[in-house]
Amino acid sequence: MIEWVKKMFGGPTSSSTAKERLRLVLMTDHLALAPDIIENMKRDLVDVISRYVEVDREHVEVNFEREDRALAMLANIPIVNVNRPSPPPEPAEPQVAHAVMAASGPPPQRRRRRKKPAQQNPAPAT
């Protein structure tokens, strides 16, 4: 009787509940049946993240968590190093000027400046 009253006043039908539960359980079943897909996902994920930060590939963990109404992938990716942000690329104008100057002759000052650090700090023996 309560069921009938519930239906009258809205609330999910048992078939819509069933459909939702089936959808989620089949997703989990399909994942369980395809460990190679999970491995590929893990590897691709780590590859992408590695473009931005350095990660510890040996200790990456990927899990799937089920709630009653949702399936989520949780990845734990240890980051070992974040490089200092590199300077933004030089603005376009000076380069145009440089090109113009190149036609008439290279600017000697810039080159010399670059050479000096190399001379003052010889590369350490390896």
Binding site: S14, T17, A18, R21, L24, D29, A32, L33, R66
Partner: protein, 279 residues
């Protein structure tokens, strides 16, 4: 939280719970539904119950109980040492003293070692009053693994010729170790009355087993499975009461077992008045 069991030994001895396999041979007669509902009914009485899904590859006990989203580890994970029993046991949403040990979905039945299965059931018996094992269809390794740890058997049969024949085969295979008890499921009293379905007497004239209970065909079962809420959680209703009576009998009580009778519900009567379909 253990209830005193009838055949209790000295207080210092380990009280072993009862391990009951629920089997049938034929698929689809209600083993999983029976395991879920009987387990629920026993837990509702205060007993501690562990349900074990032995249907590797085609698990369904979890979904019938509404616990499919909570299963993290399964039987094979435990047998292979990847998880402890405690990690794998899922507490039921509705009954405090009920736990589930799920089957592996992406593995095969022949990956389960029979002796390991026996040991697993034994360790569950040391912790729970009842261990109910949901047996897969068939009579091969899956069946043997489900039966190996059990000391009692319930066979489930529908009043149909193929089901009766399969139960008969299974009873033969269970051998002398068991004295199986029978549950007749999905009886339709109206059809029996019209001579279109085997009666309880017809079935048991062939099988000759002690009758544990008779459950009528109940569309509500489909609804409760849709929702993942076993029918035995209810206090009222013919099927819920049938399961409670079966649980009482399993626990050793002498409860009378009336077979479901032909009853026309109010809605059915209305239906026939307005030209609806007769069952």
């Amino acid at each position: 939280m253990h209830q005193p069991i009838p055949h209790e030994e000295a207080a210092s001895a380990v009280k072993l719970g009862r391990a009951i396999v629920v089997t049938s041979g034929k698929g689809g007669v209600g083993k999983t539904t029976t395991t879920a509902n009987l387990g629920t009914a026993l837990a509702q009485r205060g007993a501690s119950v562990a349900l074990v899904d032995a249907d590797v590859g085609l698990r369904n006990l979890d979904i019938v109980l509404g616990l499919e989203s909570r299963v993290k580890f399964h039987v094979l994970d435990v047998l292979e040492g990847k998880a402890s029993l405690d990690d794998a046991l899922v507490r039921d949403k509705h009954s405090e003293t009920l736990v589930l040990l799920a089957a592996a979905q992406s593995r095969e039945k022949d990956e389960v070692d029979t002796e390991q299965m026996r040991a697993l059931i034994q360790s569950l018996r040391e912790r729970y009053d009842y261990v109910l094992i949901d047996c897969p269809a068939g009579i091969e390794l899956g069946f043997r693994n489900a039966v190996v740890g059990a000391d009692e058997a319930i066979v489930v049969c529908t009043p149909e010729v193929s089901a009766v024949r399969d139960v008969d085969r299974v009873v033969g295979l269970l051998g002398n170790r068991f004295k199986p008890q029978l549950i007749i499921n999905r009886l339709r009293p109206q059809l029996v009355k019209k001579g279109k379905m085997l009666s309880v007497e017809d079935v048991n004239a062939i099988l000759r087993l002690p009758l544990l209970g008779v459950i009528a065909d109940e569309p509500e079962i489909i609804i409760t499975t849709n929702k993942g809420e076993p029918l035995a959680l209810r206090r009222e209703g013919e099927t819920a009461s049938a399961y409670h009576a079966i649980a009482a009998r399993v626990a050793g009580e002498d409860v009378p077992a009336p077979a479901p009778e032909v009853k026309e519900s109010f809605m059915e009567k209305l239906g026939t008045i307005f030209g609806g379909r007769r069952a």
